[in-house]
């Protein structure tokens, strides 16, 4: 083949044919172009959206977290004595959980919520308080901007210290340095030892800061909240979070943790364990539906384009019967004619896909710019778009090429 250059000759003929019939070829390529653009554009837009949402999760401290929260063990009727005696989620649940698999657990955070009046020289507001412990700050994507975080000692001793979010710092100490200042939380005077960096995330450029609420945090040692703000001698917690980067371990860990907590809680299932990763994977699989829809719309336009191509090719074949006859008379076999027609159709498909890819990029750029998210394109999408176009181009080229190859040479020569 390559020796005689038969392929390059066919290719060259196909090129001449395409150039000579520019209008018709463009029309044929149009269906392919739109199909490719629609698959690529659809995939890219859905990938961009998904990436943006993953970024949001990463900013929240990652997706590899296992949440444990207290839940009502009592469903209806009066609580039993056992249920009444239950203490709920406590710090030994957190430490016990970590000991279950200290290698896989990369961080534990505990949280105790409260509300209290917060008074500084500049402001006096009713605020949500977050009692934190363990790796709360890194697990939630917070970073210290000024000052320091809580030391183990602060937690252990329930020291009267506080860390303020960006917004909280600017509300309570608008005139300057917050670190080192004192404020009153409920009836307890606390010293501000740190200020957190501002957290900003806009899903789309035009939208407001989705994380504005996170800048409102007033963080205190969890022990301080449970002892001083709520007067809870049992130091109950509202949330324990384990970070487990290895997703394969998550399932096993969950089972172990469930058993541990049950035995800690006197056999009561008064807690809820939920795997954020699983929740996200579920959301992602909903995203797959969009991919299927985009692919379907692309495939439909490729089928539409393909059918138009079959029609055009059949009409063209009528014009070219004589040419086929001549080629057959001088020795082209049906197979050779078939190959020539296939080459032409595939060249048009290739040309259409090539332009379609650029069209798809442009299309994705315009749409993502319009909704204000950064564009993210995967190599997979290009492969899918081109692959589908070539597959459909091939299938739809078969029939006209077959028809041409089956012409009788004598009838073809006499055709007027």
């Amino acid at each position: 083949m390559s020796r005689t250059g038969a392929f390059s000759e066919r290719f060259r003929n196909a090129w001449v044919e395409m150039r000579e019939n520019f209008g018709r070829s463009t029309l044929q390529a149009l269906g392919v172009m739109l199909g490719v653009a629609s698959v690529l554009g659809g995939f890219s837009i859905s990938d961009s959206q998904r990436k943006r949402s993953d970024e949001a999760w990463m900013k929240l401290g990652g997706m590899d977290k296992l949440n444990v929260q207290p839940a009502a063990a009592v469903t209806d009727s009066q609580p039993s004595a056992l249920q009444m005696a239950n203490l709920g989620l406590r710090s030994n649940d957190a430490t016990g959980g970590e000991e279950l698999d200290s290698k896989s657990v990369q961080g534990v955070s505990v949280q105790k919520n409260a509300r209290a009046r917060v008074i500084s020289p500049s402001a006096d507001q009713e605020r949500a308080l977050t009692g934190i412990g363990g790796d709360y700050l890194p697990l939630n994507g917070y970073e210290i901007e000024k000052g320091r975080g809580f030391a183990a000692e602060d937690i252990a001793k329930a020291s009267p210290v506080a860390i303020l979010g960006f917004e909280a710092a600017s509300v309570f100490f608008p005139t300057g340095e917050a670190v080192g200042q004192t404020m009153r939380v409920g009836s307890t005077p606390v010293t501000v030892i740190g200020v957190l960096k501002e957290k900003v995330f806009r899903f789309r450029n035009s939208q407001g800061n989705r994380f504005a609420w996170r800048n409102r945090i007033v963080a205190l040692p969890s022990t301080l909240v449970s002892t001083r703000m709520q007067g809870d001698a049992y130091r109950r917690l509202d949330r324990v979070v384990f970070r487990i980067p290895d997703l394969n371990v998550m399932q096993k860990f969950t089972t172990g943790l469930t058993q541990l907590l049950k035995s800690n809680h006197r056999g009561q299932a008064d807690f809820r364990i939920d795997d954020i990763g699983a929740r996200i994977r579920k959301r992602r699989s909903q995203g797959d539906v969009y991919n299927v829809i985009f692919m379907l719309s692309g495939v439909l336009s490729l089928i539409g384009g393909g059918m138009v191509n079959v029609n055009i090719q059949m009409a063209t074949l009528k014009e070219r019967v004589r040419e086929v006859g001549v080629k057959m008379a001088i020795g082209a076999s049906g197979r050779e004619v078939f190959k020539e027609f296939m080459t032409e159709a595939l060249l048009i498909t290739g040309f259409g896909s090539f332009v379609g890819l650029f069209l798809g990029i442009a299309f994705s750029k315009v749409i993502t710019a319009a909704i204000g998210i950064p564009l993210f394109m995967k190599a997979d999408s290009f492969v899918w778009a081109t692959g589908l176009a070539v597959a459909f181009g091939f299938v739809f080229a078969l029939f006209p090429a077959f028809k041409a190859s089956r012409l009788s040479p004598m009838e073809a020569l006499r055709y007027e």
């Binding site: 080629k327 057959m328 008379a329 020795g331 076999s333």
Partner: protein, 248 residues
């Protein structure tokens, strides 16, 4: 024993039972290597059908046909394409050049189908164009040539694979008398160089150039004049009015 064409009881029927048309009714024709045969006859005589079968463009309904020693009546489409490529050169009334390909590429085409390499193709095509006297037109499109020049290109293309048989169907039918005469001169030259030629025409003047004249009527050979081989094995069974008319 170098028969180029040897047919026995060749028949061709178009259509079926009720509407069947018997285009050929048992043709026995033998053409030796180096002969120049004119195939004549009025329209509807079956000469085009015979031409198509001799040219392996169509298959006979019955009888046998050997081309250059190969029995071809039962061959498949692909095998026939191969035979056409290797053994036959066609020259048509309307030239049938590919309009979008240069002269050189037109002449190269049969070589391409024969699997000849690119370089050799080019060299041989140029030689052929020189042979027919238009080497300077290699890179132009057919539309830029006169009718006579186009027919020369067609001759060059027909000669490309050094065929055993040249088949010409009214080669001068579309030409003015001067270019027609030039093309016929070319045919004479080709014959002198040893090519076997079968030429279909209804022009008695052109037929006279040929060394042998075979006349068809109603699907039968009614006259075989100047033959070097056997006369028609089946003479017309009844006195043929057309024959008498032709003789008169």
């Amino acid at each position: 024993m170098s028969h180029i064409i040897e047919t026995r009881q060749l028949t061709k029927v178009f259509g079926s039972n009720g509407t069947a048309v018997h285009a050929l009714r048992g043709i026995d024709l033998t053409v030796e290597r180096g002969e120049f045969v004119a195939l004549v006859g009025p329209s509807g005589s079956g000469k085009s059908t015979l031409m198509a079968i001799i040219g392996c463009l169509d298959s006979p309904t019955g009888g046998t046909y050997a081309l250059d020693g190969h029995a071809v009546e039962k061959l498949s489409g692909t095998a026939l394409a191969h035979i056409r490529n290797e053994k036959l050169g066609f020259i048509f009334q309307s030239y049938n050049l590919l309009p979008k390909a240069s002269i050189l590429r037109n002449v190269e085409l049969p070589l391409l189908y024969a699997g000849v390499g690119r370089k050799e193709r080019r060299v041989r095509a140029m030689e052929l164009l020189e042979k027919v006297g238009i080497p300077d037109k290699a890179n132009v499109l057919p539309a830029a040539l006169s009718g006579g020049q186009r027919q020369r290109v067609a001759v060059a293309r027909a000669l490309a694979n050094r065929p055993a048989l040249l088949l010409a169907d009214e080669p001068t039918g579309a030409l003015d008398s001067k270019s027609g005469a030039e093309v016929l001169e070319l045919f004479k030259e080709l014959h002198q160089q040893g090519n076997t030629i079968v030429l279909v025409t209804h022009d008695a003047g052109i037929a006279a150039l040929a060394q042998r004249r075979v006349e068809l009527r109603d699907g039968n050979i009614v006259l075989d004049h100047g033959t070097t081989s056997t006369p028609p094995s089946t003479p017309p069974s009844a006195p043929d009015p057309h024959l008498q008319q032709a003789a008169a």
